[in-house]
Symmetry: C2
Subunit: 302 residues, 2 copies
């Protein structure tokens, strides 16, 4: 693809993830039309780091760009940037492409697609099953949903961000799959924290125990990513406990709507809620081991 | 190792697992001194299949063999074959080697080692983290605990059964690790059953969903072993739900003794208890999906 055919790109929501994606797009030869964040210092930092102009308004982002990537924190923030009146990405949206990378409720994706379609704009959800390092390196695992023609239009840009692209289905379905991925991941994480904690209480060598887990039916991706961190109490945030709580609740809400009872998902959401309540929400999800290991705080009396 | 130096081996408890180990030992050139089972038909079948003499008493097994492998079903059965009076493997045990492969409570291993040591016999626990096919093929993953000199003495025989041997520590510690492996495996299994069930309720393609799980933080060994079976309702027993319930309770009992609260392990034990109560205990552990998927029975009102 020639440089000329690349769309001018804007990024809304330039926290650590959005800022990393901005740098990656720049490195891949995309012209950056604007960066925006409700926190002026975050927008300023990303603008300085990437060389992108900092937009003062959401409408200014839409005006300056052909394709807008949004990476906001939650359903309310997503609703706000696409508000029907006042400053909004919707103003002048016709003909443009919006790619929403935040982890939000499936129904919100469906509603945003509706608002954009009413204005003649295309939209996609591109849910990430990986984190900041992968965003910076362009090796994200992206689950994409929306209209197939929007996917084909966005494919070159998405390929600049992703090591693996998977088209899931209509709007909302990628968010559903993402919610399920994180629900299962969070349960497996909570399980690992319990297994290592009981091993510790029994006086077992946890390095040996992790090696045995890795060779048996106890093996899991989270054993690779979080096992040593749980043992060593290294909880620098990669995927926060607060995010884990949020995602677990997205899944349990979907289950409740579907009339399913999922006791493991509920118990896991309750554990992450306990972390948040104890002021541990900004630890990595591996910090759930702080709830289960003997002698670590906070103590449970629940 | 020459044929002459191999011990004469007996096997006590020749259900499917013990019978498979018996055949494997025969194929590896061990002379079989006796097989024994409390169920005469099981002993008869194994004797016929392997060519081993069927012993009429436990004392007869000890008398006929240098090394005795035991694969009984639970703590009570283990206690019974090593009873202090009446027909028992303890009679004439001095100088012989006993290898206990059943999944039982760690404290029982410690007690049996004490009884054997008092009679001048050596003992080991060799806990299996794999199943019948691996036993037959000599590719078990064996976690071994006991005195190091007993391990060295047993190593050739254990190597005939195992693809991988791991020495864990003193008597009881292999059973602890095994309980932890199965606890984490069972939670991960319950988690997978919930994730696939919710995906089914949402109308997602479960083959696609399993592929996404495999490439993300939701990946696990049980996804490989049980994911398709859950989707396709193929629950031929490989590791039964009743066994999963038993093992989960061994772990939660250890946690209770240690004063730890493990909500995921407890929720998982409760799910497997529900399977047993619903008459589904002889399904494979993957059958837990029958509790979670929409439209599958039994329906939960718990």
């Amino acid at each position: 693809m020639s440089l000329q055919s690349k769309p001018v790109v804007g990024v809304v929501g330039v926290g650590r993830m959005g800022a990393a994606m901005t740098l990656r797009l720049r490195d891949e030869g995309y012209r950056l039309g604007a960066v925006y964040d409700v926190r002026p210092e975050a927008a300023e930092a990303s603008a300085r780091e990437s060389g992108a102009p900092r937009a003062g308004t959401l409408a200014g982002v839409t005006a300056a760009c052909d394709a807008i990537v949004t990476v906001v924190s939650d359903d309310a923030a997503m609703d706000a940037i696409y508000r029907e009146s006042g400053d909004s990405l919707l103003e002048g949206a016709g003909g443009k492409l919006f790619i929403n990378c935040a982890t939000i409720a499936p129904a919100v994706h469906v509603e945003i697609e509706r608002r954009l379609a009413a204005r003649g704009a295309a939209s996609l959800e591109a849910c990430m099953a990986s984190s900041i390092t992968q965003a910076r390196e362009g090796t994200l695992y992206l689950m994409v949903a929306g209209a197939p023609e929007a996917f084909e239009r966005a494919r070159p840009l998405l390929s600049a961000l992703a090591g693996s692209l998977r088209f899931i289905g209509p709007a909302g379905s990628a968010a559903q799959v993402k919610a399920l991925v994180n629900m299962v991941m969070n349960i497996n994480t909570a399980a690992l924290a319990e297994g290592l904690a009981l091993g510790d209480a029994l006086g077992l060598d946890l390095t040996m125990l992790r090696e045995v887990f890795a060779q048996t039916g106890a093996n899991s991706r989270v054993l690779e990513t979080d096992g040593a961190d749980m043992q060593n109490r290294e909880h620098d945030v990669y995927f926060s406990a607060a995010h884990a709580a949020k995602d677990s609740h997205i899944a349990t809400a979907l289950a409740a709507e579907a009339g399913l009872r999922l006791p493991l998902a509920e118990a896991t959401a309750a554990q992450y809620d306990r972390m948040v309540a104890a002021g541990l929400g900004e630890l990595d999800k591996s910090g759930i081991a702080e709830l289960t290991f003997p002698g670590r705080g906070p103590h449970s009396d629940a």
